[in-house]
Amino acid sequence: MSILIVAEHDNASLKAATLNTVTAASEIGGDIHILVAGSDCQAAADAAASVAGVSKVLVADNAAYGHQLAENLAPLVAEVAGDYSHVLAPATTSGKNLMPRVAALLDVDQVSDIIAVVSADTFKRPIYAGNVIATVKNEEAIKVITVRGAAFDASAAEGGSAEQTNVGAAHDAGISSFVGEEVAKSDRPELTAAKVVVSGGRGMQNGDNFALLEAIADKVGGAVGASRAAVDAGFVPNDMQVGQTGKIVAPELYVAVGISGAIQHLAGMKDSKVIVAINKDEDAPIFQVADYGLVADLFEALPELSEQL
């Protein structure tokens, strides 16, 4: 058995989610190879080669892969996939965009967003916003899978010394092009990798008030997240959304402030180790999943909390 992982990277470095996917691959068992497809991506390939447990890195360095357009990348992955029993990618927006296109080119079904490996062909994944955990068996010859990062530890980024080979012709479908990107810049840790996440909901009232959460996040080296309602209301950008249809996080500590606890929000954070809820409504459903609940007005509680940390 050998497993191919499609790396998530920005041409210069590997994204953390790739390391969680390596752990899922090692639980399946077998040789682990990483495909780094990009443009001027040698640095990312070198980073992939030093990941512990990886025996080979396939490098496809071509301008057509620079922005990870699925139309160009999927034929490459499908071409390389023939040698493997499993093809894995992180269940991030880029993995979700790419992998079903690969699966359809290979004429196989895909298993999305696995949270556990039961055996080489059987996996657990959440359905119905995480209210049901399904165990599914995948009997396809090539198993195309996306992996929920929050459910697997990151493997060590150092310690490996995989060989590197160049692969694949350039595929440029010529039907799509990259126009631009607005990427949020922040000195705080990435939401999905942070040990502490402090999230705000509609109760924050506006975007400026998120400074109250940032002050707390900065004291504990955490990231700031949000509910969908806070995103929809324009308080904060979409990349901060936690939930069924946003990011899935499982930090050591999750602090939900002014968030009611809709099932769609819980789906994205209820596997956090410790959950704190601050809400002025003592009946808010968020308290049903919180280890520590504080019934209080957030505008009084947050400054006090910031001071005491």
């Binding site: 922005h67 357009l69 699925a70 999927a74 991030t92 927006t93 880029s94 979700k96 965009n97 992998m99 079903p100 296109r101 690969v102 699966a103 359809a104 196989v108 079904d109 895909q110 999305s112 059987t122 959440p126 119905y128 916003a129 209210n131 049901v132 955990i133 399904a134 165990t135 599914v136 068996k137 995948n138 009997e139 396809e140 479908a173 039907i175 799509s176 092009s177 990259f178 990107e181 607005e182 990427v183 949020a184 502490v196 929809d232 950008p237 990349d239 249809t245 500590l253 099932i263 209820k270 410790v274 959950i275 049903q288 999943v289 520590y292 504080l294 019934v295 006090e304 005491q308 940390l309």
Partner: protein, 249 residues
């Protein structure tokens, strides 16, 4: 421009679904069913394109048993022109659904296909990308803005790092994210009118598609439950607990 919109019948998003006690699957008896929220956004977007004079016809397609005609009618009541029901029993995997949709696309030849990014029952997030692969069309997934001009679709996509803009040659496939628009409510007269709009039925065998899948459900269980927590009386008690009991700060 003809726009095809896919609509899935799913358990309403307000229902908290549970696993059956015998572990054979989710408990779906007597629960409220609705259009998948992302598909509702897809319908709204297509209807707005028609109102803007960009689209000439909006065709709804749904794959499932007879009951999904109810969701097709709801979409027609929102302003779509006609419906296609692809009759298929049981729960199909996304690849089979994408193949059925491909056969419909071959017949209808729409210039734009708008789909939901994810069905909220299976949470697969696959069908749009698969249909794009099968038809060789470009894909604009997780769209929060869509503009059609000069034979191209410009799509702003919600990605993990922020927003990405791509330009797609038509015919193209777009999958919706929640912020694309806010769907309207159907008015009573429009609900009545929808009853008289054309709705054709096709079957998988007519379309020549094999819907058997190699991915199967083995069992379904409830997620791990969390230990009931406590309420703290003050911020200082909270900080003390986090430091000394939970040891997370």
């Amino acid at each position: 421009m003809k726009v095809l919109v896919t609509v899935k019948r799913v358990v309403d998003y307000n229902v908290k679904v549970r696993a059956k006690s015998d572990g054979t699957g989710p408990e779906l008896g007597n629960v409220k069913m609705s259009i998948n929220p992302f598909c509702e956004i897809a319908v709204e977007e297509a209807v707005r394109l028609k109102e803007a004079g960009v689209a000439t016809e909006v065709v709804i397609v749904s794959v499932g048993d007879k009951s999904c005609q109810e969701q097709i009618r709801s979409a027609l009541a929102l302003g779509a022109d006609r419906g296609i029901h692809v009759e298929a029993e049981g729960s199909l995997q996304p690849l089979a659904i994408a193949k059925l949709l491909e056969a419909v696309v071959d017949r209808e030849e729409p210039e734009l296909i708008i789909m939901g990014k994810q069905s909220i029952d299976g949470d697969n997030n696959q069908t749009g990308q698969m249909l794009a692969a099968l038809t060789g069309r470009p894909q604009g997934t997780f769209a929060s803005k869509l503009d059609i001009a000069d034979g191209k679709a410009q799509v702003i996509r919600e990605i993990d790092g922020g927003l990405q803009t791509v330009s797609l040659a038509l015919p193209a496939i777009v999958t919706t994210d929640l912020r694309l628009n806010e769907p309207r409510y159907a008015s009573l007269p429009n609900i009545m009118k929808a009853k008289r709009k054309p709705l054709d039925t096709l079957t998988a065998s007519e379309l020549g598609v094999d819907t058997v899948s190699k991915v199967t459900l083995v069992s379904a269980e409830p997620p791990a439950t969390r230990q009931a927590g406590i309420k703290v009386a003050s911020v200082s008690e909270l900080v003390e607990k986090l430091k000394n009991e939970a040891k997370v700060i």
